[in-house]
Symmetry: C4
Subunit: 402 residues, 4 copies
């Protein structure tokens, strides 16, 4: 007799469950990381025995974690350090690294600017033009160390930069806008063709961001290797405040994962679903995988690394936007080395260190040998709104040997 | 294959979804702005290409935003500034502007009164009688500048003031009470006939406030051009605390929008649904439209404009109520010019500036070319109760060019 | 065409809606005041024209509000003041008023005791025995002023005190325990027979507290005139913390109201449902009636009256419990006269004053002419967890004339 | 006519109720203590007349409360005191008591270590090896006093220590890991066989922790006498933050209780369900029983006893983990004697004292004569998120005699 919940991954039947917002509108309920938890399985596995590697097109990543293309996070030394540890950093081709010969000086200036003048300062420093020479130089500097590196570009310059990046040796091209679709309409400029882009390039293309099943499916059909999931994932994030737009990450990841399954069935090709943003602790990373992700992209946690470019600060790429800024400079403080954060050992208990160890331990207690099995882990809806800050004996017994 | 949620606007079948409050009572679940978010579409549009204009009876408004008839917000100069930018201000005919020859002196007094004596002060200054001469004068002062202006009146004096206002050149008459229905009963005074009022006037009549489908439908059938939606919309608002009455704005807007559709079908005439109150940021404005609004009316955000009448303070029109005050003077501080607030560019990232830019950007990422299309945007229920104040990289990438 | 929600009062069919807590247990969802709001009706009524009177057995109460039998609230002068205003105070026959010739001295002592010694002090002062002579004296002192007064007793002494109280002129006897049922089992003492008690007395008997349909129905069948609803109603209340027991008041009131309807049908007799506890503002009082109450009993709000016995402090009757204290002394401060609190005019906007005015205004906007009609008002589930402390223009416009 | 909710315990039919997290995944809703409350019954019972005893295999426990095997709680004197009061302490065989001849010295050192160096200090003191001599000594020291005592071991050393413990006179063996299943896989060490362990031992074996129906059923089939329920039960606990894993305790207890019922039917043997962790007050303890528990295991509340080993501090057993610490030292302060905490009388009203009195009173108002009847008590879903810190008269009236 089994009463196991029928939660194993499958694409839900149409129509989805909706609730009446009012007489004029219905809506689905969407869930964020804080509202769910993983259920330990009927089998447990020694964390040392689980396999956390993932594929991104032709690339095999030993660690399924990408560092986000944020100017406060990734520069050349960070990308090298990340690659050596087995992760993949994404270098922003539209940021300070490719606008300035000496970006560290500009970053130091940003770090030193008082809070009340930071918006103006950021707007000013991003006026400098991107230099193609620097694109080439930065990529080659990382590749000289023999590690994998990805680069990101806004859609507007994707076609032109793709070639430059591939020639310089980049292993992956990320085309990223807040919300990216296969169909963008504008009367004043031409739309990027992802079909042409993926056909022209030998390296895998990742596109995003995306949160919706149909939009994801259309993007997958253009030939991309990976898709970034996440629009306004933090529940109190600026995008949601300013534009009202956003889907919490558990639902967004699960919806795009369903598109992956549908596309896999129709094409035989598996596109990597990369949850991007909203993960503040290792437990959130684990939940992203259990919700359906093949990899995750992390910004804020890495911004606190000693190696991060921002010298203890970070900011989003829309912060310097001239007419509708969405984000400001945040002080994260340098709290640990990248190695401690990524592969440990952790010296703190708040989930901000040893993300790989947490992923392995979580897969172990959930009985998942691989990430694909982890995607089948049962989750429960269990809002984290009570007893904040309370600890009890149970909470602290994880990881005792057996 | 499509798994798109069936959320496109249509009037929901009877009966609505209800939950058991107890054995004696059932209730619908109602939703506020903080509980929902918009889902980006499968198509995106260049924000410069979207059309945000709306109709209010015979008036065509280039910007679908009204400034509320609050004494701390609208006076003659504010109305002129608002009109020049393309918006529509509503001048309160029962307020200080029509009671005093020199209202600025009274407003300065209010601003200077210490908090512990403000209620008495407000009760006192509202004892002065409204002067019809000033009604005429104020309206003409705005119209001399060639911009549109609306005026508001309580129901008790609506019939008399309607004629005065129209003669003075007002473009729109707003008849507003906390809760307004087509059927009001009193043993001590006569009920206003909206049928007669709308028949007698050439200018469009807006009535409110209203939150319920049937009450809205009855009001629409009296011939009004627009309807104000909102009773106690803020979740912690005074109306709800004092009277227990209130419906969160997403549900209220959606219910009244359904009444609009039903009335449109029966009459061929489209009444403008105007969400009034409860919007604290641009994202809330976007959600109001997506929930079904044709326009929005805003008070608090505008009260923080340098041009606002209240000199950094505002208060509701029930604040001076002699037996049951509901509201007090609030200090909002003068934080930006009306132009920055309404059409930008924004210099802050908190959603309080460039409302038009936010609306355009939101429509763009949701793939809506017009406000009517925007009313069909998918929403999700996604409570904003976690991670308050947390920002992440995703949140800040909106608006990057593509 | 009508899309009105089918929320009109009727006893819900069996079985009620339940959710799976786990494989072993299901549970209903229960609602508190903060989770619901009233929906304005399609008709509005001049507040001056609504009728708020209620019946309690043979008593006709012009104001449907009782003052709770708490030692920090009701003494002889308070009871007189309450009665003169049209309300009904309940004098506690097991409290300080009947243990001491000069209770004011003891109350002053309690008020002066430092917080860290208050529990011991309370335990000590409640050691003095109740004196039957004082029971008689206190009741007669109130009745000399010609106003109605009720008295309360614990079940253990109900039979004996009932006679004393009736002889002294009390108008109503309240038999009150935390949880009271028609069937109590004990090996060490005899169970009170409510049938005998109600048969023996000429004055109406009120019993409680109760939250459950069946328990209420059984109590009603014993012949009582009123029933008190409420066990652990405050969401963070001590009963719920200490015993885990409690049902939020909207659901409890609605369940007991359903029992009233069932009993009314079977007997032709209407038992007054009195919501007791958990109401912090006028809006909560309005919601209690809309949930099904015929009257409400209030403690904390009245404890802040200048006339309250506790001199700015109050405490529950289980606070001095010797083995399991549940509650402590709370400082409420004397904030207004009883007249302002009960019938206004209010000088503050927080819902703590002019409860009668608030009830009238709420009934007016909901289109209810009588309390029975008000029990049919539509409610919505609308959690008050967002935007705490935010006010907006809409919130303050209630009560403007029309 | 009865409208009683159909909540009496029975194993729910398959499939359970689930909600769509996204197109790829469904999930059940899980509930914690703060989200539920007990409903008083139609019968009440004198608390003195209820029976709270429980069975754990062949052991009869007069009080169904265990003290958790935490180094900050249980040492020899604590175990003796607990046993004398009728409870059962669990002595940790992998902790400081069996690593040091003079553990009090080490505990004093831990208590004196500044917060910023505590993690390193804890890691250091747990490097000392466990000495089998001390295992024997500690157990015999408790047994000399003639009280019951249980001991706990990690799975890795369970087989070896089981024999030692039984020989020394331990009454019960607890085998405890964060998540424990009947099937653990590892390439580097051999899996513990619970079948062999339970067959080899005369004393009852308790195993855990567990939260899932099927995993619990498999463990029960190995012959264990009791099962510990709880993984990451506190909503903000470290396990959930670090690993994303955890199921709130009401649902976990109810699921495992269902497994008990299924196993009881198939085997005729009743395994004791022991809720472990997450209970902060007496009300939570009551809820655990009502959710289906036969006993509870408590750590934090006991850590505040004068007799607790930790001298006012406690920490979880994963706190000293070398690569992924989950928990830190918490100062609980010594607030009361063990007797006050366990059997009262209480001198505070916050639910932290007189757990037995609270359990008896709660069973009394719910009309439950035994723990088995208490498991049938109706519960409601009633989130405790409003009005935090508010008290009202109702809350404090519990326990008044009748």
């Amino acid at each position: 007799m089994s009463l196991r919940a029928p939660v194993a991954p499958k694409v839900q039947d149409w129509p989805p469950e909706t609730h009446e917002l009012g007489r004029f509108k219905r809506a689905r309920r969407a869930y964020g990381f804080d509202e769910v938890a993983l259920v330990p399985g009927g089998v447990t596995i020694n964390p040392a025995d689980v396999d956390i590697s993932t594929n991104l097109g032709t690339l095999r990543l030993p660690i399924p974690i990408l560092a986000a293309a944020m100017d406060g996070v990734v520069n050349v030394p960070f990308a090298i350090a990340m690659g050596r540890l087995g992760g993949l950093a994404v270098l922003n081709l539209d940021g300070l690294q490719t606008r300035y010969d000496d970006p560290d000086r500009v970053l130091a200036e940003i770090a030193a600017t008082p809070a009340d003048r930071i918006n103006g300062r950021l707007q000013a420093v991003y006026q400098a033009p991107v230099q193609e020479r620097l694109i080439d130089e930065r990529i080659r500097a990382v590749k000289r160390e023999g590690v994998l590196v990805a680069v990101s570009t806004v859609p507007a310059f994707a076609a032109r930069r793709a070639r430059l990046a591939q020639e310089a040796g980049a292993d992956c091209l990320v085309v990223q806008g807040t919300v990216l679709t296969a169909r963008h309409h504008s009367r004043s400029y031409e739309q990027l063709s992802f079909e042409r882009l993926t056909a022209d390039l030998a390296i895998p293309v990742v596109a995003g961001n995306c949160v919706e099943f149909n939009a994801a499916l259309e993007l997958m059909r253009t030939g991309i290797a990976g898709i970034l999931v996440g629009v306004g994932p933090g529940a109190a994030c600026t995008t949601r405040g300013v534009l009202g737009v956003g889907v919490p990450q558990v639902t967004a990841t699960s919806d795009v994962a369903a598109a992956r399954e549908v596309y896999l069935e129709e094409s035989g090709r598996r596109v990597a679903v990369i949850t991007d943003g909203g993960m503040r602790v290792g437990g959130d990373v684990c939940k992203a995988f259990a919700a359906g992700a093949d990899a995750v992209m992390i910004g804020s946690i890495f911004a606190g690394a000693h190696e991060a470019a921002g010298q203890g600060f970070h900011w989003g790429m829309a912060t310097p936007d001239a007419s509708l800024p969405r984000g400001t400079r945040i002080e994260v403080r340098r709290r640990a080395g990248l190695k401690e954060i990524l592969v440990g050992p952790a010296t703190v208990d708040d989930g901000s260190q040893n993300l790989v160890g947490a992923l392995r331990a979580s897969m172990g207690v959930c009985g998942a040998r691989t990430l694909r099995e982890f995607q089948e882990t049962e989750m429960v809806i269990a809002p984290a709104i009570q007893n904040e800050g309370k600890l009890d004996q149970q909470a602290q017994r994880v990881g005792m040997g057996r």
